[in-house]
């Protein structure tokens, strides 16, 4: 049981790190603001969730677990909301998403905003 928990949390931690790394690469390499938001937002959620879950498996029952849960809740709520608000504010201020052709917007960043 111990071993199984260790292995699972190990996998979660590694995959979470992988996600955050790809997210950072996206943040660094992507061409315009909206794609960067996409990269940062998605991997923030996935990476943070995975890493925190991995840590939770190590924590065992108790206050530490509760605190980790609280952090998870906060980061899920806060980072997604912040990304949404940023994209909305940027769009409102007149920053246009970069388009592939002139007539078709790339779907990913437009679909994340109402």
């Amino acid at each position: 049981m111990e071993l199984l928990l260790d292995i699972v949390s190990w996998i979660l931690l590694i995959s979470g790190s992988f996600f955050t790394l790809t997210g950072a690469l996206g943040l660094f390499r992507f061409p315009d603001f909206f794609t960067r938001t996409h990269a940062a937002g998605v991997t923030d959620t996935a990476g943070a969730g995975l890493i925190l879950t991995g840590l939770m498996l190590q924590a065992g029952w108790g206050l530490v677990l509760a605190k980790l849960l609280l952090i998870l809740l906060f980061s899920l709520l806060a980072s997604t909301t912040a990304c949404h608000a940023m994209a909305k504010a940027a769009l409102k201020s007149g920053l246009k998403p970069q388009t592939v052709n002139d007539n078709s917007n790339s779907e990913e960043e437009t679909s994340s905003k109402p």
Partner: protein
């Protein structure tokens, strides 16, 4: 075992910092600040487990909260001056 996520998170924080320096528009900077904050939260959580003393998760919670609040504050600043936001010259 916790050392790998810790190192990767440090790298990611470095990259976010670069984006905050370069950032062509101000929104890029805000985004980088936000990413930097969330990664710091994770980093502290991992460091807690790395050091084997888990009393410090409170700090990670505070970071998460403060990060959110300051991003909101920054965005609110732009409710007033959204026209000038893009006209950034470095």
């Amino acid at each position: 075992m916790y050392i790998i996520p810790a190192v990767i998170l440090l790298i990611v924080m470095g990259i976010a910092l670069c984006r905050a320096f370069m950032g062509p528009t101000l929104y890029d900077r805000i985004l980088a600040v936000n990413t930097f904050g969330t990664k710091t939260v994770l980093f502290i959580a991992v460091i807690d487990f790395l050091s084997g003393r888990q009393a410090f998760l409170d700090i990670a919670i505070v970071y998460a909260l403060i990060n959110f609040i300051s991003v909101i504050g920054i965005l609110r600043f732009f409710e007033y001056s959204s026209k000038t936001a893009l006209a950034e010259e470095d």
